[in-house]
Amino acid sequence: MGKLWKIVGYIFLALFNAFSIWGASFLFSRGFYELSITFFVLVFLIDYFVLNKNAYPYRYMIPAVILLFVLVLYPITFTIKTAFTNYGTGHIMTRQEVVDRLLTDPIYTYVPDDAKNYDYQIFVRYEGIEPTEEFKMIVINEKGEKYLVGNIKEIRVQAGKMILGEAELIPMEKVETLKEDGKIIAIIDDEKTYNYFYSPNDKETAINEIFFKSKIAFPILSKVEIVDNQRNRLSLRFSEDGTLKLVQIKHLYRMALSEVIENGKTVVKTTLVNDKYNRPLLEENGTFYDFNEDGEKVPILGYISTVGGKNFTKIFTDPTVSGPFTKIFLWNFTYAALSVLFTFIIGLLFALVLNNRTLGGKAIYRTLLIIPWAIPAFISVLIWKNGFFNETYGVINRFIVENIFNGNPIKWMTNPFWAKVAVLIVNTWLGFPYMMTVSLGALQSIPEELYEAASIDGASKSQRFWKITFPLLMTTIAPLLVGSFAFNFNNFVNIYLLTSGGPAIPNTTTPAGATDILISYTYKLAFEAGRGQDFGFASAISILIFFIVAGISFVNFRISGSFEEVNR
């Protein structure tokens, strides 16, 4: 029985191996190098765990290790790699993808000066009286010869949609048609009938133009290149009078051998060449540049490329980045420190009051005061933002500032100072119950005898607090304060939901705001495309954040002796 299980286990392991290695190679072929390597390492580790008897304890951790590798370690390595690249808006694709795109995308085509014009007719299948999007096209060349456009082959597909298609011309002899007065009125293909629908020069079909343009020309035909028997490429293009003409086109860029100066030496390389002017493209800083008529550089497409430590050095050297960055950095520390300070002071005060033995109803007060902590933070923040800090409708401005103090409405969201005040108020409200609870716990663990001894020695109340309560309290609470600091240092939700980091800091090239902390700044850099995404810079900052927070926490673990506790 045990043997059978073992065999089943090994078969399972073999299948797992096969699948993972196949998956890893597949990922590798699609450019997910880090993930693929992660998978390989993972498979190796798991095999080791399962096959090696000494690694028995690790077998329990296999699921955790899988999740950890795929969802934590891979993203971290990816982030570290990204920190050294220019990945972001304008540099989204790999170099290979960009080259592919420049070579094939219909945008990068041009109509040569001696281009030939072709007439065309569209035939459409009807369903009842409604035309459908199934169509056939006849191309008529200058000599009046007619050809049918064959089936469209998809050359490039992105997200399930065709970006580029190709079709060949078929001589009309091979096509079954219906004629009336010598004109083709219908095409029969594959047992379907396509009726004559539209031709640019036939005024009688002008009413069908809109349907043709919106349902056939733009979504399909504009992305198709028709190849005739002389290998000429035809495609629909707008002419100057606004009609869609079928013209001969050429691709603007092609691959060619050309001489390039590299590190002072002349090297022959395959590069992209502008076909129209026969000029090689310039490649600089992860961007392809073409030249316009005046010989000026025009960027066309960028790709992901390594930029070295630029994302890190820019924090210090670029004044449009370093200025706001310093502000954010300082505010981040102030915010975390003040949050800890305020929550601790208020929490401790409540704890001291509630620690009174003679006070009745303590449990009720404690439960009520814990409610701000119990409410999910995002809900509380939204309530504060929507109901209280709104500049026009908010309760604080309308009922307290105006009615009680007769003041002007406070600009909670547009004035940097008040925005910071708002953020701190909310964070204190959210955080003091935690401090109260832990302080209460710590206070209760202080032995009563100490106080008795002190009062016998004639210590005053304040002396008792500062000499006994506070020092004893701090030994247990200090690590928690540091932990709370680390937590608030990255307290993204509060900032993001309340002010979105705003109001914006002027004169900067990055989306920095006055209440932004590093993490929200990073988030904005990466995911809010208002000024363009900059994953590279965002990754660099997140690495910085990691070192700050991990440093704080490591020291904290050390102080509180958590490592030893694990070892116990």
Binding site: F32, L35, A55, Y56, P57, Y58, Y60, P63, A64, L68, L71, V72, I76, F78, T79, T82, N356, G361, Y365, T367, L369, I370, P372, A374, P376, F378, I379, S380, L382, I383, K385, N386, G387, F388, N390, Y393, V395, Y434, T437, G441, S445, T476, P479, L480, G483, F492, L497, I519, T522, Y523, A526, F527, A538, S539, V549, A550, S553, F554, S560, S562
Partner: protein
């Protein structure tokens, strides 16, 4: 005794603080129950409560518009009905029609009821007309008593009267005797004129003058800008091209002069001199004229120098005799070149310089004038400010006089008001009453303008507010009657349309099933009718009438009607719910999504943690010491940044495994699973408390390590596992950021993202819906939290607190 007293104070302080701290919670609860637009209301709390917000969010009613669009989908056989058999379509259609008719009946009943209430109120007012009028009279009497103002000195009074007659035109001379003011103000006319009126007129004149000055300056500014621009342009040409040229001319001329003035050497040469001298003289004449232009500074010197040089050369040339010397030949060839260049240049320069000097003159002139005028304007402005201050100070002195006069005017109005309303009977004369009260209001407000005592003011205003009910009641009458008529007509017409739809609907369903989709004309018409004419014609009256009824509950002087007003308000509100267009909400869907996601994540991560924590508790192996800690450290990496990598990964996976891609709950769950290790520590700690003797015993009996874990340790640890499941569930339920990045469709949102949409964009002021939705999500979480308190605190502190 002392201790108790102290506690009593502590309790009060604590209660106040708790109320303050929990105010946002109180606010959310009260706002979610409000029926009016809390964001626009002037009251913090409202007595018009209803559960409508919760109903709309959780149990939305298929009201008329919803039913109509449902019927539209049925009869055109479109989603979600396109795959159902005809029989069930017909059944649904019939039930929809029944519901439509039910709404018609309900509307009629509602109006009938409100009509009844309304006429009851009308009768009541008619019966109690005298009482009500009496009430108004007593209010007016109170007003009259409160309005008594001490009579000021005659002089102040008289001057105030003069100024009132003249400036404010609030009273006419002949009125004065009517209101019982007997002061010979004519005597003080001179003093008034000297002290007040002249100053005032002066101020007015000055204001007029300042205005004209400002206009003038404005038009001058335009000219100034033009000349400034032109001047800059010309100056640039002058400096950049003309002056350098002149300087080079100067050098040439100096060379030429030197040539001539040198003692001639003995070499002879043949000189072919033609028109050089004439040309030179021509240039000379132009330069002479150039000299007369007014040009400033260095440039002028250059031109003067040019003229000087030319004069020198000219004089020397005219007196020169050795015209066949080589010197002279050189001189002539130089001059030839000079002439060639200079003639053209100097002519051009002449044009330019003449223009430049005229522009410069004009520019200087205008800018001088401009500064002059601006200074003057500033002067005048400060002067007028001073005068105004002075005037205001003087005027203030006479304020009591004015107030006294105005109070007399108001008293007079009040008396005549009381006389007038004596004959009124309500509700017949409500309009007249309303108009008289409006006049009264205006007069009193006029008076309040002259009074500074804010206490006095607020007491008067409070008196006046007691009359507000008349305006509100009139509003109710006007709006309600209009509403009632319109609504009845509306429902009747609606019935006709519904009958039409009922008769053609079934045919339409059949034909749509056979491929011919026919839209029912009556349906379309009715739809637009309810959608556009209802809010335009009926809802506006309904809203005002409903608000008036609610306000009257507070304002109406007799309390007997409160019940009826409330009834009207509520019935009208219900009527509105039947007809108005309502947004579709997905709260259930969001909560469901959240529960699914959080549930799966909680169970999976707890299992993974339970497994992984075991060796840490029971076995010795490499990496044990730093294993969990390094895990915890790794998790310090800002998790949001994982999203850069995971976003691309998810969108890639999504192409092959659709339910795991972006914008799917599967993808979100996948991403959340990365949040392991936070609770591993807690579980490990619990394992440590389970005595290992149990396992040892089992192992002696032949159980494998895995079996002891699975059969013994895990069941014993089930309490802590349950706690971890709940904690993880709560944590995941409350997560917002990752969900917002991954999910895009409204239907796929989790509760957190959904609630966020309720607080932004068009919902920003829909506080009722927002707070109700917030409360729905908040309540279970708060209860869970409070019941899990012990473990939460333990879990949070355990990592760091020893012992």
């Amino acid at each position: 005794m002392v201790v108790k007293r102290k506690n009593w104070i502590t309790h009060i302080i604590l209660i106040i603080l708790v109320v303050l701290i929990l105010f946002p919670v109180v606010w959310v609860v009260s706002t979610s129950l409000r029926r009016d637009d809390a964001a626009f209301s002037s009251k913090l709390f409202s007595s018009r409560m209803s559960l409508q917000n919760y109903k709309d969010l959780l149990f939305p009613e298929e009201n008329v518009l919803r039913l109509l669009s449902d019927i539209e989908s049925i009869t055109t056989n479109s989603q979600p009905y396109d795959k159902q058999p005809v029989e069930s379509l017909i059944e649904k259609f019939k039930s929809d029609i029944v519901n439509l008719k039910k709404y018609s009946q309900e509307s009629k009943d509602l109006i009938k009821e409100t009509d009844k209430e309304y006429s009851y109120i009308e009768n009541f007012v008619e019966e109690n007309s005298e009482k009500l009028i009496q009430g108004i009279k007593s209010v007016v009497e109170d007003l009259t008593n409160d309005l008594v103002i001490k009579k000021p000195e005659d002089e102040i009074l008289a001057i105030a009267i003069n100024s009132l007659i003249y400036d404010d035109k609030k009273i006419k001379e002949r009125n004065l005797e009517d209101i019982g003011i007997d002061v010979d103000y004519g005597n003080y006319k001179v003093k008034w004129q000297e002290e007040l009126n002249e100053k005032k007129q002066l101020i007015e004149e000055m204001e007029e003058y300042i205005k004209s000055l400002e206009n003038k300056i404005k038009s001058m500014k335009k000219d100034l800008d033009y000349y400034q621009e032109e001047y800059r342009r010309l100056e640039l040409i002058l400096n950049e091209s003309i002056i350098p040229q002149f300087e080079s001319f100067n050098k040439t001329l100096e060379v030429a002069y030197n040539l001539l003035s040198n003692k001639s050497n003995q070499i002879r040469a043949i000189v072919s001199e033609k028109t050089e001298y004439e040309d030179f003289i021509r240039i000379y004449n132009i330069v002479e004229e150039l000299k007369t232009f007014k040009i400033n500074g260095e440039n002028k010197k250059v031109i003067d120098k040019l003229f000087e040089n030319m004069t020198n050369v000219k004089l020397l040339w005219e007196g020169y005799t050795e015209k066949n010397s080589a010197n002279y030949a050189d001189f002539i060839s130089l001059i030839k070149q000079f002439n060639l260049k200079a003639l053209k240049q100097i002519k051009e320069s002449y044009n330019l310089l003449s223009k430049f000097s005229s522009v410069e003159n004009e520019y200087l002139r205008i800018s001088n004038e401009y500064t002059l005028l601006s200074n003057k304007l500033n002067n005048e402005k400060s002067k007028i400010e001073e005068l105004k201050d002075e005037y205001e100070n003087i005027e203030k002195k006479y304020m009591p006089g004015k107030a006294y006069v105005m109070s007399k005017v108001v008293e007079n109005t009040l008396n005549s008001f009381v006389e007038k309303i004596n004959g009124y009977s309500l509700p017949k004369d409500i309009n007249k009453l309303y108009l008289s009260i409006r006049v009264l209001n205006r007069k009193v407000n006029d008076l309040l303008y002259y009074i500074e005592d804010s206490k006095f003011k607020s007491s008067i205003r409070a008196d006046l507010r007691k009359l507000d009910w008349v305006a509100t009641y009139r509003n109710l009458i006007k709006r309600y009657e209009k509403f009632s008529d319109d609504a009845k007509e509306f429902v009747e017409e609606y019935d006709k349309y519904v009958a039409q739809i009922e008769s053609t609907g079934i045919n339409a369903i059949y034909s749509a099933k056979n491929g011919v989709k026919v839209r029912i004309a009556a349906l379309l018409q009715l739809f637009t009718k309810v959608q556009s004419s209802y809010p335009a014609e009926i809802a506006s009256n309904l809203g005002i009438a409903s608000k008036a009824a609610a306000d009257l509950m507070e304002q109406f002087p007799l309390n007997d009607l409160d019940k009826h007003f409330k009834n009207i308000d509520e019935k009208l509100f219900r009527y509105d719910q039947i007809w108005k267009q309502k947004q579709r909400h997905y709260l259930w869907r969001w909560i469901f999504n959240s529960v699914i996601v959080a549930g799966i994540v909680a169970i999976v991560t707890t299992l993974v943690n339970a497994l992984a924590a075991y060796p840490f508790s029971r076995m010795r192996f490499k990496g044990r010491k730093y294993g969990i800690m390094s895990l915890l450290l790794i998790q310090m990496f800002p998790a949001i940044m994982y999203m850069i990598a995971l976003y691309g990964f998810l969108s890639f996976i999504g192409r092959y495994i659709p339910w795991l891609g972006l914008n799917t709950l599967g993808g979100l769950i996948f991403v959340y699973l990365g949040n392991i290790a936070f609770n591993m520590y807690l579980i490990k700690g619990f394992y440590d408390t389970i005595p290992s003797s149990l396992e040892e015993a089992a192992m002696i009996d032949g159980a494998t390590r895995w079996q002891t874990f699975w059969r013994i340790v895990l069941p014993l640890a089930s309490p802590i596992l349950a706690v971890v499941v709940i904690l993880t569930f709560m944590g995941t339920f409350n997560e917002f950021v990752l969900a917002k990045i991954i999910l895009q469709d409204v239907e796929k949102y989790t509760y957190a993202v959904g609630l966020w949409t309720f607080s932004s964009g068009p919902y920003e002021t829909e506080w009722g819906l927002f707070s109700a939705a917030a409360l729905v999500g908040m309540l279970p979480m708060v209860i869970l939290f409070l019941s899990m308190q012990k473990y939460l605190v333990g879990g949070l502190t355990k990592g760091s607190v020893k012992g």
